[in-house]
Amino acid sequence: MDRRNFIKVCSAGAAALATGVHTQLVYAGTVKDFARVKLVDANGKPLKASSLSKDEAYVFGYPFVGTPSFLIALPSAAPAGATLKTESGEEYSFPGGVGSKKNVVAYLAVCTHQLAHPEKKGSVMAYIAGNSETAGRAVAITCCSHNSAFDPADGGRVVIGKAPQPLPGIRLEHDAATDEIYATGMYGADMIEDFFKKFKGNLNKEYGIGKYREAPAGTVQAVLLSKYSVDADRC
């Protein structure tokens, strides 16, 4: 990232901090702004960062209706700063968790290996708070299809498997006054077009022709993976 962009990102963050709103700062040219939407539950009630389940991930359609992302409340703070690299060599830094405990993170729930993702009929992707056999550790996002695992506390870095790059991150914003969470953009690998290209047929069937490309507006529902998918494979 050049100096100008760095300053731009920092100033935006500084301005936000001054008003009590914490936006994740991403030091990279890989950031893409998307519509700012509030995360709400199935009843439309805003989710609160401090009362999220720590046992499993929430699934929400962001940055597009047809692109599932994971919202995760980690057991402890996820500090910012780690440098990550996309498959094509672009470097960016992990902006860290948001919320009063700095433990809330979000990622595109699409495996960077062969694009598996949560579907209504089932999911091979899951956040495992306890021990993951594939990852050989606790606190991991696993894709059981071909056994890749990612570290949600470290920017979605690949822990094991053939996945060639970290999970793209969803940039979050936390309002300290209300404890509400907003999604505002994406950072890391840009996989959306590839994902759409490979799943176009299925997505058209599931959401209606071309609807999967629509951006959520105002609010987006985030529901527990166990409610979103019939069953999730854990490995």
Partner: protein, 453 residues
Amino acid sequence: MNENLDRRNFLKMGGAVLAAGTAGCATGVTGSAVAGSGSVSAAISTIDYLKLPKAKGPRLVIVGAGTSGMTIAAHAKKTYPNFDVVVVDKRDMFASCYNSSLWYVGIINLEFLAAHSFLDAAVNNNYIFVNAAATGLDRAARKLYTNNGAIDYDFLVLAPGISYDWAKIGVTDPENVYNVQQKFPGGFISPMEHVTLRRKFQEFEGGTFIQTVPSGNYRCLPGPYERACLMAGWIKKNGIKGKVLILDANPEVTIKAKGFHDAFDTLYKDVLEWKPTSAVTGVDTEKKIIKTEFDQYSFDDASIYPNIRASTLIEQMGLVDPKSLQKEANVDVRFYNVIGDPHVYVTGDSRNHPYSKSANTSNTEGQFVAKVLAARAQGKEIAWESPETVCYSMTNGFPPEAIKVDAKYTYDAAKDAITGFSPDTKTWETRDQAMGRAYLEWAQGIYRDTFGG
């Protein structure tokens, strides 16, 4: 090879190795074989070069559009965009061998296996798909012969898969060979075998269905056991008065033994019998009898899986490793080039490695080989990476429940050999429905990787 390297320098670079390794190497079943022996067949001599667009970079020709060849084709150009990639296959329609047994009992439909177009793959990955059969190879001239004409290559990958070796199960007379393969197909090579086997499943009305398991490093180690489980489940579900008999040449189930035994014992106790150390030594297709060393077994229907060997194309091209019991190609253990020839590679199930001959192995291996080729096209070398064998088996079809193994391999530099599975190999042998669903996604991921963009 440096991308700016001209052809003369390129030849110079490879010349020393080629001189040692490829003298008199023009071999093949048609064009090159007769050219090498000095007599040219009139029919072949009328075929010149296949008309292809002018190569825009080092030409990488890949023979075989199975998992191995398709993976390399998809990844080579992504890794090194200068490559000019041409894929050659005699088939014009793909049908997946992996997951095919699931179709027999209706877990998936034919579209799942076959709605994958070579045309789309070529467009999505910027290469040319040539519907032709490879017939010969002239390594000195770096020329591949096909039934539609010759193609010059800078790099050639041969990924032609496997052929059956009937002699190893005592089936040698050609009449017997054709009777066995047409009436009781093994079902591990061609789509037509699957069509026949599915029909057999659907039409089975009772008696004994025999599934044989060969010795050696056969394709898809759990495949015959999985198929036996699915047939046993089909018998149970439909109340058929019959049973499955597995005649296994091996002393133990060859992979995921715990998970398979659990299914044999808990799901199929009355409808499946497994007989270890029962290698087939002959088949009487008229009387429907399979012979083993000490016994013989009558059957009503069967899938007879003979031993396998590398595709006969490898032998026709003079690339067989004399030490290989399965006539596999003599290639570098880590980088897959034919020994002494940095321009020709053999990958997938024709390789002479002890790797599992399975889709995920070929897919992960192919991704690595694409990197090897991209590096070498730029005069570089890369470090060896193990392929990975993630492999599911549906031990229950009703409802679909699977088990899984995840294995990598260990390379011993002192021996320059692959010495076995790596210590971090994991198995999941308690079947469940989540793995049953993951199994389907596993296959679709590989289809996306090989056919998608």
